[in-house]
């Protein structure tokens, strides 16, 4: 009960902080439009890269363009949602360095909520729109044998994927408390992760796939659910129910990330900056 109250309080604080940043962002309308468009193009060019590949080949590791587009759309949409929700966490290190992190610590609300809502910006919707458009096209173009479970799995996949990426952002923020200057490391897991998931798992080495399935379970963002939807063999021959395990994996990731964050914050407060 107390735990639930804390979560609700945290969400309220998040809304307050994010709302302030949205209003701040609106004071530079021209810049807002330019960067919204920029975000759209920026992520879009990744897909242009894939289209260029498919201008030269008919399939990649046995996957057709619509199938790869499905992976791409799911990965980018999930990541886009996470990036919208917690995209400024990679800048925690600079907040710690310039001392403004201390300002967050003297406010009567959750620090995690404040860090999550920090520099919240609607221009990040560009990525979601672009990923969603590609996913939409893929759903039409790919040869999918629709069932009720597949239709239900789709939103579940996107939300769970976003939550898994949020957990990665939170863990990355916790890491920055120890190593503010090494903030770039987490790009390997966030941006690197979403890039990797755009391609079929069969492309990558077995050990790499094992790593992103069992160690950092990014495979549950889209690879495993997509295998079910598209009727393809599961990576690493996982059992059939694994496609529906994404919410559980996401919950587990959140628990671990929360633990990491708490540990990091405690160490900040006992070590200082």
């Amino acid at each position: 009960m107390a735990e639930r109250g804390a979560v609700l309080e945290g969400l309220r604080a998040y809304r307050l902080i994010a709302g302030m940043w949205v209003r701040s962002g609106m004071t530079y309308r021209a810049s807002f439009v330019v960067t919204l468009f920029g975000n759209l193009v920026m992520t879009g060019l990744d897909f242009v890269g894939i289209l260029l590949m498919f201008s030269q080949v008919d399939s990649l590791a046995g996957w057709s363009l619509p199938e790869v587009a499905f992976l791409y759309g799911a990965s980018v949409t999930s990541f886009g949602l996470a990036h919208l929700a917690a995209g400024s966490m990679p800048q925690l290190g600079s907040r710690i360095r310039d001392g403004s992190f201390d300002v967050l610590l003297v406010r009567p609300v959750s620090v995690l909520a404040q860090v999550g809502g920090d520099r919240f910006s609607l221009r990040r919707l560009g990525r979601i729109a672009q990923g969603g458009a590609v996913l939409g096209w893929a759903l039409v173009a790919a040869d999918i044998d629709w069932t009720v479970s597949k239709a239900l799995l789709l939103p579940l996949m996107l939300v769970s994927g976003a939550v898994i990426f949020v957990a990665v952002f939170v863990a990355g923020a916790a890491f920055q408390i120890y190593a503010q200057d090494a903030a770039e490391v987490q790009n390997a897991f966030t941006y690197g992760g979403t890039t990797m998931l755009q391609y079929p798992p069969a492309v990558f080495g077995k050990d790499l796939v094992r790593g992103v399935t069992f160690v950092l379970p990014l495979a549950f963002v889209n690879w495993v659910p997509a295998a079910h939807v598209l009727g393809r063999p599961y990576p690493l021959a996982l059992p059939g129910w694994a496609a529906f395990a994404s919410p559980l994996v996401a919950a587990g990731c959140c628990a671990l990330a929360g633990l990491a964050w708490r540990t990091g914050l405690r160490s900040y407060r006992s070590v200082g900056s």
């Binding site: 604080a13 307050l16 302030m20 209003r23 701040s24 004071t27 530079y28 310039d98 001392g99 403004s100 201390d102 300002v103 610590l105 003297v106 406010r107 009567p108 609300v109 959750s110 405690r266 407060r269 006992s270 070590v271 200082g272």
Partner: protein, 343 residues
């Protein structure tokens, strides 16, 4: 209250049930890793705060001073719950700050001179509206407090101005108001007048006195500006190398530090050094202007009268000793005493 040099750790003056802030042998030790050579690293510990004890009663106004790196901001960070002490016991309003950070946050106000809590691109009033919701300030209370702040800090014309367009002094006033909207019982200010012009400084100081008188808000401020202490604080604490080396009235600090003030006199024309009674002495002559140093603990009036009756004066002014100089002198003296004791 007489000042005294701290030689042993123990509860400071004002200990008792009315103590609002209480520190008992509080320590903060940092592990510092230093690179030695290419790969080897050496670890050693730095005592940023070394067994500090003091209490502050409700409604007191205390100045907390010391050179950079002495442990001032570490202490403030522990008092606000940002940092957890390595040892000792610390209570603010009966709360252990680091354990109940958010509960304490409702009862304290913090102003960091160098960092703002205000939203850079939004009108000032928007930041206040956020404070209202974040601290859950009841509507009537919020309106009343805001009206009073606007009046005292002269913020009326600034409420609709984006913070990025405010001058440093205006922004500082805005920040102070933001820290007081939720009726905190204690206000911590870290260098509240740094970089401000004289008018802004005076206004901030006046305001602090007024708030303290109206609401008996406890005020603890760190500063480099002796005038902040002189005009605001009844009590001053000096910290050096993590230890509390002085706790008492400002006048006592001058005495302990044997600091000197300077009387600057402009004579009618160039003259040889004026005659003044010891220990006062002329330290500099430049054309018709002369500088006379005299103990800070003495009144300037006698000296002025004495010079005025013998020499025709055009103008005169008294320069306060710079706080760094006072403290430096005090430290030098302590070091000297310590070495005679040990030999």
């Amino acid at each position: 209250m007489r000042g005294r040099m701290h030689t042993t750790a123990g509860p400071g003056p004002g200990a008792g049930p009315e103590a609002f802030i209480a520190l008992d042998r509080v320590e903060k030790v940092f592990d510092v890793r230093r690179r030695k050579g290419l790969l080897r690293r050496e670890r050693h510990q730095v005592r940023a705060v070394d067994s500090i004890s003091f209490t502050v009663a409700r409604g007191e106004m205390v100045g907390y001073i010391g050179p950079n790196g002495a442990g001032k901001s570490t202490t403030i960070k522990m008092l606000t719950g940002i940092l957890t002490p390595s040892g000792g016991r610390l209570r603010v309003a009966g709360i252990d700050p680091s354990r109940e950070r958010t509960r304490l946050a409702h009862r304290i106000g913090v102003v960091f001179g160098q960092r703002t809590t205000l939203w850079w691109d939004l009108p000032l009033i928007d930041s206040y509206k956020l404070m209202r919701r974040m601290y859950r300030i009841p509507g009537a209370r919020y309106r009343e407090n805001l009206a009073r702040m606007v009046e005292l800090l002269d913020l009326g014309d600034l409420l609709e101005v984006p913070v990025r367009q405010l001058s440093l002094g205006q922004r500082m006033r805005g920040d102070i108001a933001a820290a007081l909207l939720h009726d905190p019982e204690v206000l911590y200010l870290d260098e509240p007048t740094i970089g401000l012009d004289v008018v802004s400084k005076t206004r901030v100081r006046e305001f602090l006195r007024q708030v303290n008188a109206e609401r008996s808000t406890t005020v603890l401020l760190t500063t480099h500006d002796l005038q902040d202490i002189e005009q605001v604080c009844s009590r001053v604490m000096v910290i050096d190398h993590g230890r509390l080396v002085y706790d008492g009235a400002l006048a006592g600090l001058h005495e302990v530090g044997e600091s000197e003030r300077t009387l600057v006199v402009d004579l009618e024309r160039e003259r040889p050094p004026v005659e003044v009674p010891a220990p006062a002495r002329v330290v500099r002559v430049e054309g018709a202007r002369q500088w006379v140093a005299f103990p800070a603990s003495e009144s300037a009036a006698g000296l002025v009268a004495r010079i005025a009756e013998r020499y025709p004066l055009v103008d005169l002014s008294v320069r306060e000793p710079d706080i760094e100089a006072v403290i430096a002198k005090m430290y030098a003296e302590r070091a000297g005493r310590a070495s005679t004791q040990s030999s």
